[in-house]
């Protein structure tokens, strides 16, 4: 007897049985659970947790207080990250860039006597890019991830999902997308993998394609740096960190709005269908285990993401150094590209340097800012800024000197705003693209997930640039 025949035989027998056998069986299980539970449970003790938990749940998931609390929590996490990351980031920069780099360069040139191009590729390209990534990324990640994990352990994230479920449902997506979106705030590749919790393939694809609108860890430093240098300085010094945090928060929330917009568009066009419901149990609040959380989020998240950044940044550093130092005709490869892309970039409020930086930084978003700096110095030929001179990715010794370099490179407040918007809306990094392909096994969806954000970015930046120039 084959499997098919057994199924037929079972079907026939099933017809002979009274209807609702399955329901009957499930009802039996529930009735039995009820019976056993009531027999072995004594609820007579005094509960001193239930009442405050109920009140807190009401507060966190209420329509009027729930949303503001979410925004406030995000703002606090961002502000703590911005305000707290500065100091350790400075230490690392001093150690790895200001002192480490000249030391290594000296060692390579004078002790090892490496040829100029080899020491250039290794020390000025590979080492410097990697060191920049470590000093810029490690401190904010070491603050942002543990804070996020603490909220998760406390039980806040399921409440966020509960709040957002309604909105996601309205745009035809799955409520669990709130969770994959918040994973995306750490790393889009991780967010894409996390969409496995969504069972419906349609809703899972929506979550995958729109995950890039969640600002990832590689882009937080770009946002934070540009906001601090260009927007924070517009306010008085006392308010600078709040203005900076506020603008980054604005970009992050704009990303959430774009997630809803893109989900809505997808579910009305290529991914039509009903939104499925799911039951989400609001777990009891648990005091977070702070030390354990610090340990696991450092090991599981921070170091893994950092390692990935280093792996991608190192070869990109070599490419950058080569592009800036290999000439075709009268100019280097980098200069040709920058001049070629300048007119297109102008239309969307950016410049050729930024676009080239985004192409070079496809492997890892983290290196966008270092690349921009290096290319700007090279094009404007600013001398005496940073000891290493043109063509080397360097750390501007203070944030104000960063602003000077960029202003000399023709930057305005519009450039800064456009860069922040473009950083939110452009193609995912190569790891994320590869992850999307692995998860969807489809070139079509991977391509859509890659190009949809770029189209959004060009349209949004174009509109902003147009109106900005009309008004100014």
């Amino acid at each position: 007897m084959t499997g098919e025949e057994i199924i037929k035989s079972a079907e026939k027998l099933r017809m002979g049985l009274p209807p609702g056998v399955r329901d009957h069986w499930i009802e039996d299980i529930y009735a039995e659970s009820d019976r056993i539970a009531s027999r072995n449970l004594d609820q007579s003790g005094i509960s001193h947790r239930l009442s405050w938990e109920r009140r807190l749940d009401w507060f966190l998931t209420n329509r009027w207080t729930g949303y503001p609390t979410m925004v406030l929590m995000l703002a606090i996490v961002l502000w703590l990250t911005i305000a707290g990351a500065n100091v350790p980031s400075g230490w690392l920069a001093t150690l790895l860039l200001e002192n480490g780099h000249p030391l290594l360069k000296n060692f390579a040139d004078n002790t090892l006597h490496l040829p100029w191009w080899l020491s250039g590729v290794l020390v000025d390209g590979l080492y410097l890019t990697t060191a920049w990534v470590v000093s810029v990324m490690l401190p904010p990640m070491a603050i942002f991830f543990p804070l996020f994990t603490l909220l998760e352990d406390f039980g806040y994230l399921p409440r966020v999902a509960f709040n957002l479920d309604n909105l996601f449902h309205r745009v035809g997506a799955h409520g669990k997308q709130a969770l994959t979106m918040s994973m995306g705030w750490g790393c889009n590749a991780a967010g894409v993998v996390a969409t496995r919790v969504i069972d419906s393939p349609r809703e899972r694809l929506i979550a995958i394609i729109t995950n890039n609108f969640a600002l990832c860890n590689g882009r937080w430093p770009t946002q934070i740096l540009i906001a601090t240098v260009f927007l924070g300085t517009l306010a008085s010094p006392g308010l600078a960190s709040f203005v900076a945090a506020g603008s980054v928060l604005g970009i992050a929330l704009f990303g959430v709005a774009l997630t809803f917009l893109a989900s809505w568009m997808l579910s009305r066009t290529v991914l039509q269908g009903e939104a499925s419901t799911f039951s989400l149990e609001l777990p009891p609040y648990r005091p977070p285990q702070i030390l354990r959380t610090l340990y696991t989020s450092l090991i599981d998240r921070t170091l893994i993401v950092l390692w990935r950044a280093i792996v991608f940044a190192a070869p990109a550093g070599i490419v950058l150094w080569s592009m800036a130092n290999i000439n075709i005709g009268s100019a280097s490869i980098a200069e040709w590209l920058i001049n070629g892309l300048d007119p297109i970039a102008w239309l969307i409020g950016l410049n050729g340097v930024i676009l080239v930086a985004y192409i070079v930084a496809i492997p890892a978003n983290e290196i966008v800012i270092p690349t921009i700096l290096m290319l700007t110095v090279m094009v404007t030929g600013i001398s005496g800024v940073g000891e290493q001179g043109a063509g080397v990715m360097f750390d501007a010794s203070s944030e104000s000197s960063l602003a000077i370099i960029l202003r000399d490179g023709g930057w305005t407040t519009l450039t800064a705003v456009s860069l922040m918007l473009f950083s939110l809306c452009h193609n995912p990094c190569s790891t994320t693209i590869y992850t999307i392909w692995k998860e969807t096994k489809s070139a079509k969806w991977t391509a859509l997930a890659t190009f949809l954000p770029v189209v959004f970015g060009i349209v949004i930046c174009g509109i902003v640039a147009l109106f900005w120039r009309l008004i100014a």
């Binding site: 007897m1 084959t2 499997g3 098919e4 025949e5 057994i6 199924i7 035989s9 079972a10 079907e11 027998l13 099933r14 002979g16 049985l17 009274p18 056998v21 399955r22 009957h24 069986w25 499930i26 299980i29 529930y30 039995e32 659970s33 056993i36 539970a37 009531s38 027999r39 072995n40 449970l41 004594d42 609820q43 007579s44 003790g45 005094i46 509960s47 001193h48 947790r49 239930l50 998760e152 352990d153 994230l157 399921p158 999902a161 669990k176 969770l179 996390a194 496995r196 919790v197 069972d199 039951s279 989400l280 149990e281 777990p283 009891p284 648990r286 340990y295 696991t296 090991i299 599981d300």
Partner: protein
């Protein structure tokens, strides 16, 4: 404690934990396979971590353990492989998580299935425990989060629960390590076949069902002699469970067996 006789040390409960050797990912060839099942958010992963020494990150939402996680520990000279299954509310409906968990309990032939349930949500959590008991006799029920239950003024009758379910029941607060030693002891006893069980099997009081089930079970036995838990599969077929039907029709049910045997 220093001058206690060796025999009393062996039976002492604390000895279980002190002799526990956490092997982490060193799986190798295990003597016994333990499956860890439970509703989402019951502290399953905490128990997994306590037994294996691994630091699997625990999250607060359904579907956190997306694929199954594996680890190992050694106790009393035997090596145990422990498989942390995705958290599920039942083994019946059609999500991927539930299928992973169900397939492992059915075809992975775990020597012991530990069902972790939340003391503060006993009634809802017992559904899953009862469903597991319909499949296998070799189960230990671990009622976790006893500290939270206490905070809510709830007490659970361990003996009564064990009597009603027909399998060993352990009360635990895994986060504080309470009850882990007893859980280990029960797992060891069950794996070594020292625990008599009489699990709570539901009676099918539907006319004609018993006969129909026996017929399908016999047919399954002829077609797939190696597939275990045929009665349970027959029951699902008679209910019209689409996933099980598809697996039987395509012959995949035989492969599932082979897949899980390899692990």
């Amino acid at each position: 404690m220093t001058n206690c006789a060796p025999s009393s040390c062996e039976s002492c409960q604390v000895a279980a934990v002190s002799k526990l050797e956490k092997l982490g990912m060193k799986l190798g060839q295990a003597d016994y396979v333990i499956a860890l099942a439970g509703n989402p958010n019951t502290g399953k992963s905490t128990i997994f971590n306590a037994l294996t020494g691994l630091r699997q990150h625990t999250g607060n939402w359904p579907g956190k353990t997306i694929a199954r996680a594996e680890g190992a520990f050694s106790l009393g000279g035997k090596k145990y492989k422990i498989v942390d299954l995705p958290g599920t509310y039942s083994l019946l409906s059609a999500t991927d998580d539930e299928e992973v968990a169900r397939d492992f309990i059915l075809f992975g032939r775990p020597d012991v299935t530990v069902v972790v349930i939340d003391a503060t949500r006993l009634e809802r959590n017992l559904n899953l425990a009862l469903q597991v008991l319909q499949i296998t006799n070799r189960a230990v029920v671990c009622v976790n989060l006893i500290d939270e239950a206490k905070a809510h003024g709830i007490t659970v009758d361990e003996r009564g629960l064990a009597r009603d379910l027909g399998v060993p029941v352990v009360l635990a607060t895994a986060r504080k390590g309470e009850g882990i030693d007893r859980l280990l002891q029960e797992i060891g006893d069950m794996a070594n076949g020292n625990t008599p069980t009489s699990p709570q099997k539901l009676k099918y009081e539907v006319p004609g069902l018993r006969e129909a089930m026996e017929k399908i079970t016999a047919e399954l036995e002829a077609a797939y002699p190696n597939v275990p838990h045929r009665e349970w599969i027959a029951m699902r077929l008679l209910e019209g469970d689409p996933r099980i039907a598809a697996a039987v029709a395509s012959g995949e049910i035989g492969n599932l067996m082979a897949d899980h045997a390899a692990t």
